[in-house]
Symmetry: C2
Subunit: 123 residues, 2 copies
Amino acid sequence: MAKNMKVALLLDFYGDLLTEKQRNSLDFYYNDDLSLGEIAANLGISRQGVRDNIKRAEAVLFQMEDKLGLAEKFSEIRQRLVSVRKAVDIIDQKNMRVYRSNEINESIKQILKELDRLDKLNE
Amino acid sequence: MAKNMKVALLLDFYGDLLTEKQRNSLDFYYNDDLSLGEIAANLGISRQGVRDNIKRAEAVLFQMEDKLGLAEKFSEIRQRLVSVRKAVDIIDQKNMRVYRSNEINESIKQILKELDRLDKLNE
C-alpha cells in the first residue's frame, strides 16, 4: 500500500468528516508512521480492517478535496500571504533606513499583526 | 418555513456536497426567492418534496459548517484583508504626498495585486 503524503494534509482539512476509526487509522498511519499490524493492535481490529479503513478514508478525503478544493485554496492563500509579507518587509526596511515615518511604521505593525493572525487561521 | 439567510452563504461553500435536486431547491428558494409551488413546478416534484429537499439540504449545510467551519474562517480572512488594505492605503497616501519613494510604491502595488487575488479566492 503506497503512502500518498497529500493524505496527511487533507486529513487536517476534512478529518472531522471521517468516522473515529477511519480518522485514527489514518492518523496512526500517516502522522505516527505505525505499521498496519501496530494500528490493528491499537484499535483492536484486524489488519485487513485497518487496511479497509485507510482505503475508505482516503477515498473520502480525495472526494471532499475534489468537491471543495480547500487544501488547494488555502495553499494559494498561504503563498500570497508570504508574498505580501515580503513586500511589507521591503517597505519596512526602506522606512527604517530613510524616512522614519511613525505613521508608516504604525501601519506596517498593523499589517504584520493581521498577517500573523491569518497565518494562524491557515495552519 | 422561516428563511435563514446564512443558508445562501453556506450554499456557496458546501453546495457541491448536495444532490442536484437539493442544490437546485435551495438555489431557487434562497437566491431566486421562488415559492415552494414555483420550485415544485420547475423541478417536476411535489411541493412537499421541495420542502423535504430544502430541510434535508439545510441540515447537511449546517452540519458541514459545524464540522469544517469554513464560512466562519473565510469571513475572518475577509475582515483581516480589509484591515490590511486600509493600512496599505495609509502608507500609500503618506508615500505619495511626502516621500515619493518608487521602491515603496512598487511594494504597495505588489501587495494590492496579492490582496485583489485573495479577495477573488474569498468570493
